[in-house]
Structures are given as structure tokens and as C-alpha cells.
């Protein structure tokens, strides 16, 4: 058991900072409302340290307060797509040792999403933050279809090139637009009986492994993931799949 709490200036003091806007005035009643909000969240000793009218009827608050429960860190287990890190060179060796053909990766920023920097970071030759992209990997054939690619077009292309791995990038998450789009892809793949034949990976600033799994993907990658990570994950999965009966 490893019990933890937020740390302000004393171990275990539970101190956290909050800020929010309420449809109130920054007067006594408003400040009290801000305080009750914190109390109702179960926070101890809330201090409304700032209250300011933003605009008639809306006020901005800053509050400090203490969390009064512990979390048991030992009870928190997360499944992560990323379990180890290897270099491109190491991955190329694994590829050479395990496959006698090039693996085909197809990636895109799908749906109405126009953000390409993320998928480019993973795929483009020049890579990102000192990590070369998949296009540079010996043993991998990488197709980057760019952005705003319709799920239908994505699948059509994947079929055409016999893709092993599909890489989906999603950046816009407002009103859960990414969820609808990501689910649609899975449904289309299933309809095409392709789901089992590919490794399906999602990525983006607000994508977590957990979410991706939930939506029927094999893995999800968030911020600070690089080509090496995706490549390694996909390859390990393919090797595992090969050895399946």
C-alpha cells in the first residue's frame, strides 16, 4: 500500500488549486458559492483567494483547498501501449530478423480533422524532435495520406496496398467528434472483414491507450510518442500474431 495525496508545502497536506467561472457576482454570496462548490466536492478548508467580476453576472474564482482522501498508488495499474523504448536501428534489426518482406503502414488524419503535424511527426522522413519518421525505416513501407481523409478512402487505400498497420491521427476532440469518427472506422473495417487483418492504432494529443482500446483499437498513443514507439508496438504485435496457432 502506498498512500498518496497532493503535496502543497507539507507532505500529505492534500493541497490543490482550482479556478472556475460561476454565473454569479464576485460579492459575498458569489464567494460563498465558490466556497460551497469546493466543500461539496469534499474539499477541506477551501480558501477563495481571488474573486473577480468578468462580466455582468459572471465571476472568476481562484480557490485553494485540501483533498481529504488518499489514493493507493499500488492499486493504480495502467496498461500502456508503450512498455519499452528501442532505437530505430534496433527496430530495423528486429524487422530484418522476423520478416522477409516490408511491412506496410498506412496513416492519415481522418474524418474532418485537418491537423497533420502529429501524423507527420510519426511518419515523415524528417521526423520530429530528433526522431526520424517511419518513412525512413528499412523494412517498413509507409504511406501518409495527409489530412481530412474519409474513412472510406482510408480503407480503400489500405486494401489496395495490403496494409499491415493502420495509423489514425485525431486532434480535434471537441464535442467528441473524434469518437464518432474513430468508431465509424472500426465499424467500416468490420463490415469489410478487415479488422482482424490489420493492427489498428490511434494517436493524438488527447488520445490515450485506454480510450483507443475502448473504441476497438489495438493501441493509442498520446503526446510525446515517437515513430519508434509505434513501430515497436506494431511489430511486437505482428510477431505475437504470427506465433499464434
Amino acid at each position: 500500500m502506498k498512500l498518496i495525496r497532493p503535496y502543497g508545502d507539507t507532505s500529505h497536506d492534500g493541497k490543490i488549486q482550482l479556478s472556475f467561472t460561476l454565473p454569479v457576482h464576485a460579492d459575498g454570496q458569489g464567494i460563498e458559492a465558490a466556497k460551497r462548490l469546493a466543500t461539496q466536492l469534499g474539499l477541506l478548508n477551501p480558501q477563495v483567494v481571488h474573486a473577480e467580476d468578468i462580466h455582468e453576472g459572471y465571476a472568476f474564482f481562484v480557490v485553494y483547498a485540501s483533498v481529504k482522501f488518499d489514493l493507493d498508488l499500488d492499486q493504480i495499474h495502467v496498461e500502456e501501449a508503450l512498455t519499452e523504448r528501442k532505437s530505430r536501428e534496433e527496430i530495423e534489426v528486429i524487422l530484418q530478423e522476423n520478416f522477409d518482406r516490408e511491412l506496410v503502414f498506412v496513416g492519415a488524419s481522418t474524418g474532418s480533422d485537418a491537423h497533420t503535424v502529429g501524423i507527420d511527426a510519426i511518419m515523415n522522413m524528417k521526423g520530429f524532435a530528433g526522431h526520424y519518421g517511419l518513412e525512413r525505416y528499412r523494412g517498413i513501407r509507409a504511406y501518409n495520406l495527409g489530412s481530412q481523409v474519409k474513412n472510406e478512402d482510408f480503407i480503400r487505400f489500405a486494401k489496395k496496398v495490403n496494409a499491415d498497420v493502420l495509423l489514425v491521427s485525431q486532434t480535434v476532440t471537441q464535442k467528441d467528434v473524434h469518437i464518432r469518427n474513430m468508431v465509424e472506422l472500426v465499424e467500416l473495417l468490420e463490415a469489410e472483414k478487415m479488422r482482424e487483418r490489420v493492427i489498428l492504432i490511434a494517436g493524438g494529443a488527447r488520445i490515450t491507450h485506454e480510450l483507443a482500446k475502448e473504441l476497438g483499437y489495438d493501441a493509442g498513443f498520446g503526446p510525446k510518442s515517437y515513430a519508434e514507439d509505434v513501430a515497436l508496438y506494431a511489430i511486437n504485435r505482428m510477431i505475437a500474431n504470427k506465433s499464434k496457432p
Binding site: 468578468i54 472568476f60 485537418a114 480535434v172
Partner: protein, 515 residues
């Protein structure tokens, strides 16, 4: 204001090269029109409304002629003829059209004089309204002492009514310009949605009804605050000129409107974009609407240090396209951005040099300056600081349209408090550094001076290179933002057509006359 003493002959050469680059494109433009240009003409005439499938009337009409008539003659001739022959007024005609009782394609087209006479009163009414809008804006503005810098914030809830709450709050807190960000994907719709909307993704649909609601709200605040609050939307994407027409009618003040953004960032066909931008800018010129170009976007994709010169080159090109459409410098909100990685040594000085350079090269343009976005992370405190640095650069270099950075840039579209705090941030800089540009002088021949010189030289080289081929080729080669676009690829090419010798555009026609 002039601190860098940049070589005027290089600047002049850039302008000349950009002129030639634009001119070549414009000779193609002259011979073509697009479905969206034609729809805009309909809108200027006063065609508006949707059928049961929510298909807008301008689309229905242009589609009819596109598929069953000869659109190369221009939509004006068809509408005028049908209207004339029906004997109805425009309102009645539209109702009948929706019911399928009348069509645009009639046995014969009337002669030009008849057509002119039929449409003129309708067009004139719109043009009068646009003139009145200019006037109203002018009357608001002449009462105020002009501001060096307008603070610009976005609202983007998806729901126009929430947008209004937030826009008002922002204006009251000190924002001078409110932009209603469009819903993701609207730029690729080949029609303009209709009516009041309350659902959108990462933005609110640009519709004429929404424009109206927001304009009204902002006029109210303008009166309360004694400060005219400008309204912004996007004349960009497949409906570029239509939105310009709607904006002119509803008194928007600023439009995002770039000559190449759609090509590069939305994969819209280049011919389509060039034709559309030209007509949209003509409307903007008439309406006194400031355009905002989109060079800032290059730096969200490419590196801001390495690709700074592409921004400048593009500004020169945008400037020439704007001149060609009749826009004066005072309406050219050329875009650029504060996007250098803050962990780069002296990044602030490079940003300052870049912004000062733009200010000196385009002294009369209401430059639009975009905040840090690319190097903003989920650390909202760090983001707040980045925005302070950005605000300082604007204060020093007198940027005109200053889009406020949000501390939650990397997270979500702005919350009420994000916007409020962003305005406070900018205000503190405006006050506490009021005279900074007079008090601190840029060193001659230093790091900043040399940087500005270098960027100008590189831009000049790039323009020369583009001039020696064509802009079409340059776009094929991915000169801007590293994005390559085939000349005949992209969306919307099927909406482009060559004008026949007897092509007639009623709006242009009337403008020519009244010029």
C-alpha cells in the same frame, strides 16, 4: 518607427516580382468563374433561403444551370431572364422556385439590357445596404480615438447564443474584435449553411442568421462601451466569395481571406481558390472589410525560424492580389505569427525582429499578428507567459490586429475565463509598456537587424524563383508550409468553368458602372 533601414530597392523588387506572379495568375482568373462566384452574385441580388433538404437557393439555382444550362454565360443572365419572363418580383420568384413552379432555364435568354434592367434594382438595394453599412461603421469609428492595436479574441462554442454571451463578456473586458470561429469542416462544404445554429465542432457555423445575431449583440455592446466592436468571420474555403457577400450585407468588419490558404491547408483546387479569392476581395473592397491573410498558418506546420521568409514572400503575393481586387493598403491585414520555439536562444529577439520587419515593410497595412500556438503545451501557466511575450512584441511593433493567445491553446477552445485573463494580460502590457518602442532602440547591425535583413533577402530570392516559374508550379513544389498540391487536384475543381465570350456578371457590371 523605421529602425532597420532595410534596403528599399530589395523591397521594391519583391513588390515587382509579386506583381508579376499575381498578374500571371490573374490572367487565368479573368477567363474563369466558379459556382461559388455565381452563387455570390445571386446572394448580392438578394437570393436567399433553403428548400426542405436545407439546400440553399443559390446552390439550387447554380446547380440547375450547371447541369442543364450553360453556366459559362454566368448565372445573372439566367436569373434575369427567368425573372423577367415570370413577371414575378424576386421574393415571389424564389417562393415559386422552391415550389418548383418556375425554373431558371427558360426557352430563351433575354438580351443584356433587359437583364441589366431587371436585376439592377435588386442589386442596387444590396449595394446601398453595403454602402450604408460602411457608413454606419464609419460613424461609429469616427467618434473614437483610433487605437494602434485592436485586441482580437475568438468565440467558438458551436452555439451562437453561447457565443453571444462570451463575445459580450470579452468586449466588456476590453476586446476590440470578436471572431466567431467556424465549425470544423465548414470550409469544405460547397454551400453555406442556413439559419440560426446551435451545434458545431470546434466552432459555430457561419450563416447569415448567425452573422446577424452577433452583429446585433456587438452593436449593443459597442454603444454601451462607446467603442466599436468589430466582427470577424472566414471568407475562406469553398464558399469564399459567398461569405464575403453575406459579410458585406451584415456589416462584418474583418474577414479571414487569403489567396492561397485554401489550396495549402484545405486541399482546395488552386484555380478555384484563385478565382474565388479575387471575387471575394472585390466584394470586401466595396464593403470596406479588412481582410486577414493566413501566413501565420505556415509556421504552425513549418519551423518559424527556417521558414520566416516564406511568410514574407507570401505577404507580398497576398498584397498584390489584394491591390488587383481594389483593396487599399488600409484594408490589408497581412498575417504573421509568433511561433518560434521559446526554448531557442534569443527566440524573443527573433520574434521581435520579424514583427518589426513586417511593420516596416507594410507600414500602412493593419497587420494581423497571431499568438504562439504550436509550442504551447498543456502547462497553462507557461502558456500565459508565452502570451505575455507575444503581447510585448505587439506593443513594441504596433501590430494592428492582435489575436490574443489563450493559456488553454493546447487544450480546448477558450473558456470564458481564459479569454478574460488573456485580455487582462494584453492590457497590462499595453499600460505598463506604453512607450517602450520609443524608449528602447534596436541596435544597428545587431542580431535583430541582421535577422530582418536576412529574412527579406531570402524572401526576395524566393519570389524571384517563383516568378521565374509560376505560382502554380511553386504550389506544386510545396514552397509554402511544405505542402505540395497538384494543379488539377484538390476539391472544387469541378466548380470552375471558363467564361464564354458573352459571360455576364450583373454585380461586376453594376460596379463597373458606378465606379
Amino acid at each position: 518607427m523605421n529602425q532597420f533601414h532595410l534596403d528599399p530597392s530589395i523591397i521594391e523588387t519583391c513588390r515587382q516580382d509579386a506583381f508579376l506572379i499575381a498578374d500571371e495568375v490573374l490572367s487565368m482568373v479573368e477567363q474563369h468563374s466558379t459556382v461559388s462566384v455565381e452563387r455570390s452574385v445571386l446572394r448580392l441580388i438578394g437570393v436567399d433561403g433553403v428548400n426542405d433538404l436545407l439546400e440553399p437557393l443559390p446552390n439550387m439555382m447554380v446547380d440547375e444551370v450547371y447541369h442543364h444550362g450553360d453556366l459559362s454565360k454566368g448565372i445573372s443572365r439566367y436569373l434575369a431572364s427567368a425573372l423577367f419572363q415570370s413577371g414575378l418580383n424576386l421574393t415571389e420568384f424564389q417562393q415559386a422556385y422552391l415550389k418548383g413552379q418556375v425554373q431558371l432555364i427558360t426557352p430563351h435568354l433575354e438580351d443584356l439590357d433587359t437583364c441589366r434592367n431587371v436585376l439592377k434594382p435588386y442589386l442596387q438595394k444590396t449595394f446601398d445596404r453595403i454602402a450604408k453599412n460602411r457608413d454606419t461603421r464609419h460613424r461609429f469609428l469616427e467618434k473614437e480615438t483610433p487605437r494602434t492595436t485592436d485586441l482580437y479574441v475568438i468565440v467558438a462554442t458551436g452555439n451562437i447564443h453561447e457565443d453571444v454571451i462570451q463575445a459580450k463578456a470579452a468586449a466588456k473586458a476590453g476586446a476590440d474584435i470578436i471572431a466567431v470561429i467556424r465549425s470544423t469542416g465548414q470550409s469544405l462544404l460547397d454551400y453555406v449553411p442556413y439559419g440560426i445554429t446551435t451545434e458545431g465542432f470546434g466552432g459555430t457555423y457561419a450563416t447569415q442568421a448567425n452573422f446577424q445575431i452577433m452583429r446585433k449583440a456587438l452593436d449593443e455592446v459597442s454603444k454601451e462601451e462607446g467603442r466599436y466592436i468589430k466582427l470577424v468571420n472566414y471568407a475562406s474555403g469553398l464558399c469564399m466569395p459567398e461569405i464575403a457577400a453575406m459579410a458585406a450585407i451584415e456589416r462584418l468588419d474583418v474577414l479571414l481571406n487569403d489567396s492561397m490558404y485554401g489550396i495549402i491547408f484545405r486541399d482546395i483546387n488552386m484555380k478555384r481558390t484563385f478565382i474565388d479569392q479575387h471575387f471575394s476581395r472585390m466584394i470586401n473592397a466595396k464593403a470596406g472589410i479588412i481582410i486577414n491573410t493566413g501566413e501565420d498558418n505556415y509556421l504552425t506546420t513549418s519551423d518559424a525560424i527556417e521558414e520566416a521568409h516564406t511568410v514574407l514572400a507570401s505577404q507580398f503575393i497576398n498584397e498584390q492580389f489584394a491591390f488587383a481586387a481594389g483593396l487599399p493598403e488600409e484594408l490589408m491585414g497581412l498575417g504573421h505569427a509568433f511561433e518560434i520555439d521559446p526554448s531557442v536562444e534569443n527566440s524573443f529577439l527573433y520574434e521581435l525582429a520579424q514583427a518589426q520587419m513586417a511593420r516596416e515593410i507594410f507600414p500602412n497595412a493593419p497587420l494581423k499578428y497571431m499568438p504562439p500556438t504550436k509550442h504551447v503545451t498543456g502547462n497553462i501557466f507557461r502558456a500565459y507567459q508565452q502570451n505575455t511575450l507575444f503581447n510585448i512584441v505587439t506593443q513594441y511593433t504596433s501590430q494592428s490586429i492582435h489575436l490574443l493567445g489563450m493559456m488553454t491553446e493546447a487544450i480546448h477552445t477558450p473558456f470564458l475565463q481564459d479569454r478574460y485573463l488573456a485580455i487582462q494580460n494584453a492590457k497590462m502590457i499595453q499600460t505598463s509598456m506604453k512607450s517602450i518602442s520609443e524608449e528602447l532602440v534596436i541596435k544597428e547591425d545587431g542580431l535583430m537587424a541582421n535577422r530582418a535583413k536576412k529574412v527579406l533577402e531570402d524572401a526576395s530570392l524566393l519570389l524571384k524563383q517563383v516568378k521565374e516559374s509560376t505560382l502554380f508550379q511553386a504550389l506544386e513544389q510545396g514552397v509554402f508550409a511544405g505542402v505540395k498540391r497538384p494543379q488539377d487536384g484538390g476539391k472544387g475543381l469541378d466548380g470552375v468553368f471558363q467564361k464564354s465570350p458573352d459571360y455576364w456578371n450583373a454585380a461586376l457590371d453594376l460596379w463597373e458602372v458606378s465606379r
